[in-house]
């Protein structure tokens, strides 16, 4: 049958030694075919991921046809090439990433003609892929993989001994391809979706803050959990604000996948930019709303922005379409009752009201997106109640995140993504021992930290102001000493002993004598006037300024 002259005349463009085969009519009583049919219609196959599925199809085909090699090449539609995707006996095809142009060579012609092709003798055939010859394959049989009229690839089998593949063999191979093609298509789609999911998750993670930063008087924790199937546009952000305040952002872009993640990135940047310009939470969200309106694309998001002031132990808060925040206190948990403005992008020129509430020492502010509390068939208010119950008793933001994720994220995965960011109003340590970058920008951070520390040591207003300026002057000296191209640091230690604070600032630079009217002389005068006692120890290896002052308020 293979040498049928009829097929030769119908397929005149076939290469030498190639014979196109008519679709085989199933031979009902052929036991081989019945067995093969069982092999390829095993429902277990449909459960397998792409790689395992291909592997299993290769094994079963090899067994059913008793051949030495089996290979599956899948169509790269863009390149119009077949790419070796899985192989048995000729694994080199896959390893070397063999690509065959459609229409050329053995597999290329199967794809172009969409017919099974038998090659009795490889030596006298138009074979493009050298691996087939290298492996010593003598005879080949291949068939197209077709799903709903679309070619998705080619499957071929080979024999190391010259062999004539008959009608029965063609029928079995076609059973294999008929079963394989839709399964491969489905698994490829799943793999592609998984790839897109991974890209989105990677994108999402690249857009979220790398680290939460360290703040005096505030401890932070955050989570981002992608959805089981599709990434969403949830985000959180932590923003360092002037005068020691900390900005906390949570948001959720409507939509899924890469577009949502990309819009999320833009919104996060926009909100962050307005926030560092010291706009309050309400104004910041109004500006982001305008930004969304200006995009000229269908875009909507919910967001909340909270500004924590560690000196006032208070939070300024505004929300646009976002779920209410939860505050965890040592005595219980409460959902803060705030009426949010409409979502960002919903109505032009929306106003966004600001709310203020207390966040006392140890209290935790917990912001989250709806993916954490929304469950099908359960009212949202119950989901929020479940969250409040779950985080009750948490003594740190990290513990609150752990509890919420453990109690509310289903084991089967999330339908929607989740972002959480939590902040605790936390005390500063009783003794400071810090290594700080010798940069002018450090000074403001030192002052913030020191003010809070001094208050906790029982310092009064005048103590705080005067010790702060003395220490800031000493640190400015250390930063000037360290002036060098290489990144340098200095050390700050502070402790209290019986109502007297001692603060030591140590650097590794050379002491420079005060120069008359210059800054440094004035700086030293300020330090001496502000503190009860100042010791300056100048060594060739560095300078230490040790300052003491009895706190008046004690």
């Amino acid at each position: 049958m293979a040498e049928s002259p009829a097929t030769r005349t119908r397929r005149p463009r076939l290469g030498p030694g190639q014979i196109a085969l008519e679709a085989a009519q199933p031979i009902v009583d052929a036991p081989d075919q019945v067995r093969a049919s069982y092999r390829f219609s095993d429902p277990a196959l449909s459960e397998l991921p792409l790689d395992r599925l291909l592997d299993e199809l290769l094994n079963r085909t090899q067994e059913a046809l008793d051949v030495d090699t089996v290979a599956i090449l899948l169509l790269d539609e863009e390149a119009q090439q077949l790419v070796a995707r899985a192989a048995k006996g000729i694994e080199e095809e896959v390893e070397r990433g063999v690509r065959i142009p459609i229409g050329r060579g053995f597999a290329g012609r199967i794809a172009a003609e969409r017919v099974a092709i038998f090659i009795a003798d490889v030596d006298h055939a138009d074979i493009l892929n050298p691996i087939l010859r290298e492996k010593g394959i003598r005879s080949l049989l291949g068939a197209p993989l077709i799903v709903e009229g679309h070619l998705i690839g080619v499957m071929h089998v080979g024999s190391l001994r010259p062999r004539t593949f008959g009608q029965n063999d063609v029928a079995i191979l076609q059973l294999a391809t008929a079963r394989a093609a839709p399964a491969i298509e489905r698994a490829s789609l799943a793999a592609r979706l998984e790839h897109e999911h991974n890209v989105s998750v990677a994108l999402q993670h690249s857009l979220l803050p790398k680290r939460l930063g360290s703040f005096v008087g505030a401890t932070l924790a955050a989570r981002y959990l992608p959805a089981r199937e599709e990434v969403g546009g949830d985000w959180y952000d932590v923003i360092e604000l002037p005068r020691g305040r900390v900005g906390l952002v949570i948001g959720d872009v409507v939509g899924h996948g890469v577009p949502a993640a990309s819009l999320m990135g833009r919104l996060r940047t926009a909100l962050h930019s307005y926030a560092i310009e010291s706009h309050g939470p309400g104004r910041t969200l109004e500006l982001v709303d305008r930004f969304v309106q200006s995009l000229n694309e269908p875009a909507m998001a919910t967001a909340a922005y909270a500004v924590f002031d560690p000196y006032a132990s208070s939070v300024q808060y505004a929300a646009a379409g976002h779920l209410p925040p939860v505050v965890i206190t040592p005595s219980g948990t409460r959902v803060i009752d705030v009426t949010p403005a409409p979502p960002l992008g919903a109505f032009p020129y929306g106003r966004c009201a600001e709310h203020e509430f207390a966040l006392e020492r140890e209290d935790i502010l917990f912001l989250y997106t709806d993916g954490l509390v929304e469950r099908r068939g359960i009212p949202l208010s119950e989901g929020i109640e479940a969250l409040a119950t779950s985080v009750q008793g948490a003594v740190s933001p990290e513990e609150a995140c752990v509890a919420a994720v453990a109690d509310l994220v289903p084991l089967t995965g999330l339908r929607d993504d989740v972002a959480i960011v939590a902040l605790q109003n936390s005390p500063v340590p009783a003794e400071l021992d810090l290594r700080l970058p010798a940069e002018p920008a450090t000074l403001a951070q030192v002052r913030r930290m020191l003010r809070r520390w001094l208050v906790e040591q029982g310092a009064g207003e005048a103590d705080v102001a005067e010790v702060t300026i003395a220490v800031s002057e000493a640190c400015a000296n250390a930063i000037e000493h360290a002036y060098s191209p290489a990144p340098a640091t200095f050390e700050l230690e502070a402790w209290t002993d019986d109502g007297e604070v001692t603060i030591a600032v140590r650097d590794n630079g050379q002491w420079r004598e005060p120069r008359g009217e210059e800054n440094r002389g004035r700086g030293l005068s300020i330090i001496s006037a502000a503190m009860d006692d100042v010791q300056i120890d100048r060594q060739s290896t560095g300078t230490a300024v040790v300052m003491r002052r009895r706190l008046w308020n004690q």
Binding site: E240, S278, E466, I469, R522
Partner: protein
Amino acid sequence: MSLADVHISHASGALVARLVGEVDMSNAEELGATVIGAMPSDARGVVLDLSAVEYLDSAGIYVIHGMRASLQARGQRLLLVIPADSPVHDTLRLSGAQHPGEVVGELDAALRALDGSRPRDP
């Protein structure tokens, strides 16, 4: 994140520069340059309103001295608004140094002082 902002306005033929925030070695020179840069050459002087400054240290004092010197060279006055209970007042007290210019307790007083020196219309 800016540690301090300058708000510039004009009153009584003078430039009024109101500083808000904290002033230290990280921003003092830039703030000084901003004020001097905004100064019209025909203005009679600068009112530097420091009443909303929450922190100012020796780097700030140094820059104010520099501003006074450059204004003096142009025949222009520098008036400093420093309320008695302000952080800037504390810094100047601690530094023990001579005040870097004419000091008044409030903006109105500064503007009155400048008005007093306004030439009478013919």
